[in-house]
Symmetry: C2
Subunit: 248 residues, 2 copies
């Protein structure tokens, strides 16, 4: 790690820490070739947000946790970047929700799957968590997708009614929505296809979202929103926030 990243008071500490996690994950074979470029795009959009959870993202997170809590069969879909950046928090979240996680990657190879399963199992045993980890033995396909990226499990993604997809590809997001699921997207670009496709899109950085969800999931109160959730309106709010910052 760069020297600066060892110092939590450094203004770029959080950003450098995430980069460091990704670099480690790359060395461990967890990531696809495009992972670093995707992370860089995320950094740019997060910079536009002010590297903070904006109000509309907080609202979307409230609705998302509520949907996950009320779900009959929730599942957290994890790809390489999600495991690298927020594997611990997402496994803890799954334990609180009493739901499985499923490794579901776009560029599926046996080596990457093995590395990702190994990483999640290591976290599980280190934190002493009770979470089912799916994806090792896919037995179903997401309808409408071609090739290895369609592979998934019946008991996980196929049978889920609410699915969290952090950093998801647009095609796959669309396919999941077409299956009638409530799809919770985490995406820093409010204009991305995934963001527009999602049922509930949280325009925020994954590790912040995971922490916020972990706090919210432990609240006992029932969430009683004043109005039904409107994803288009929520995305428009995120855009307004960015535009306001530019104009300032």
């Amino acid at each position: 790690m760069d020297d600066v990243a060892a110092d939590p008071s450094h203004p770029r500490y959080q950003s450098l820490l995430l980069r460091h996690r990704l670099e480690q994950a790359e060395q461990q074979g967890l990531l696809a070739g495009s992972a670093m470029i995707a992370h860089g795009r995320g950094e740019a959009y997060d910079y536009l947000l002010g590297e903070q959870t904006i109000a509309s993202a907080h609202l979307a997170t409230l609705y998302a946790v509520d949907a996950l809590k009320r779900a009959s069969r929730p599942v957290l879909s994890l790809n390489g970047n999600a495991v690298a950046l927020a594997g611990e928090a997402l496994l803890k979240l799954a334990e609180h929700l009493d739901c499985p996680v499923e490794i579901n990657i776009f560029y599926r190879t046996p080596e990457r799957m093995k590395a990702l399963l190994g990483r999640l199992e290591a976290i599980k045993s280190e934190l002493n968590l009770e979470v089912e980890i799916l994806g090792a033995e896919p037995n179903a396909r997401i309808p409408g997708l071609k090739g290895p990226r369609a592979k998934c499990t019946q008991e996980g993604i196929i049978d889920a009614d609410v699915i969290l997809v952090p950093l998801e590809d647009g095609d796959r997001c669309e396919a999941l929505v077409a299956m009638g699921k409530t799809v919770i997207v985490i995406d820093l670009n409010p204009l991305s296809r995934s963001a527009k496709m999602g049922s509930i899109t949280i325009v925020d950085e994954l590790t912040r979202v995971a922490q916020n969800m972990l706090e919210l999931v432990q609240h006992e109160q029932i969430f009683e929103p004043e109005s039904p959730y409107n994803n288009d309106e929520n995305l428009a709010e995120a855009l307004r926030h960015i535009v306001m910052r530019f104009n300032a």
Copy 2:
């Protein structure tokens, strides 16, 4: 390369082609660990611009080429991403300007220097260009910078009056400006420190800038601007363009 990248009619062809160049360069040891993340940030900002040369960028490019043509000792400073993405066009530009290029990298290692020099020499011989390539034997330091990132050559960067720095780090940009040079920055983020520091900042994607410069440098006409160049105003124009696109 992905299949789509082999087809120039694919809407993402140009973007995929640049990624492919970077992936090759990484395999050849040309890039620093942060290169892919930096490229991803660039992709995000270019998306906001509409992946096009906007009017204010074209204007800045006109002033920049004029400054390079009028300079007594121009130099093009090249880092890993610049060589990987636009090595050929930048060497051609240097030949037209009759000026040297200098390899000037932030994370300097003997291996990366060797790989970059080898790549530039290969382009030179393939395209039969007459360009001096500096940087192999640094004999000076940029004042105000610490460590290997300060290393440069007297006959190149130190003695230059006008310097082109594509994709430059903010600290180094500031140090070059402090030396009294005309610093031409190419940066897709109009809010970056380099962008704000530069004497002339071109908010545009490097390969498009290199092509535009190559065309402009071959024009014989004298550039007679109606008003002196104002970098702050030019950056504000780029921001207005982005905000307008968001509002649309």
